[in-house]
Chain length 108, copies 2
Amino acid sequence: MTETITVKLDDPAVKRSAQIAKALGHPARIAILKLLAQRTTCFCGDITEVLPLAQSTVSQHLKALKSAGLITGDVEGVRTCYCLNPDGVKELESTLSELSSELIKTCC
Amino acid sequence: MTETITVKLDDPAVKRSAQIAKALGHPARIAILKLLAQRTTCFCGDITEVLPLAQSTVSQHLKALKSAGLITGDVEGVRTCYCLNPDGVKELESTLSELSSELIKTCC
DNA sequence: ATTTTTAATCGTATATTCACGATTGATCGA
DNA sequence: TCGATCAATCGTGAATATACGATTAAAAAT
C-alpha cells in the first residue's frame, strides 16, 4: 500500500502555528510582548512612549497581537489596558516548542 | 535614580527572533519544514509535488526559509537538495522557547 | 459646558508578500 | 549533439503590511 502524501496547508494546527509566528514576525511586536511581560499591564500610551513609533502605528501592532490572541485589551475609561493573554502565551509556548522539537529530532 | 526605559527595535536578538518568526509565518513554510523533518532531505520538485503550489512559489518559500537560516540548499547537478539546517533549527528552538518562557513567567 | 486626554480609526503612501506562468541556464541522458 | 529535466529568476498582478498624520469618539477633568 503506497501512501500518497499530500500536505494540506489548511491544517488547523499548521495554520494556527503560522498565525502565531506571523504575529511575532515584527520586532515592534516582540518588543511590545516583552514590555507587557515586564510591566504586567500597559496602556497604549505607555508603549508609545517607549517605542520609536507613532501612536497609530503602535495601535496597529496591538491590534495584530490581539487578533492573534496573544494579548488582551480592556477598555478602562478613556484608556485601554493591554495585558499578555495567558492562554495565548501558553499556546505560543506549546505550539512552537512542539514544532521545534519535531524539527530538531531529525535534523540531518 | 530613575531609569528611562526605551526599547530599541534594532536589538539584534529581538530582530533575529522576529526574523525567525516571520519565516515561520506562513502555512506553506511550516509545512515545508515538517516535510524536511520527515524525509530528512528533499529536492524542490519533491516539495512541489506534495504542496498545492506552483514550482516558482515553492522556490520562493524555500528562498525565504534559506535566507532565515532555517534550511540549507545544496546544488546537486541539476537539482537542489534541501535540508533542515541544524544550527538554524536550534536557534529557532532556543530563541522562541526563551521568549515564551520570558512571557509565560509574568502572565497576569 | 468646555476643554483635555486617550486610543481607535481613516486616509494615504510605500514596500513587501504571495501567487502564477514564462523564461533562463545549467546539467543530465540518449 | 540534442532534447529533456530541474530549479532559479523574471515579470506581473493582487493582496497585505507598515508607517505616518489627521480625525473621531468617548471619557475625564476643569
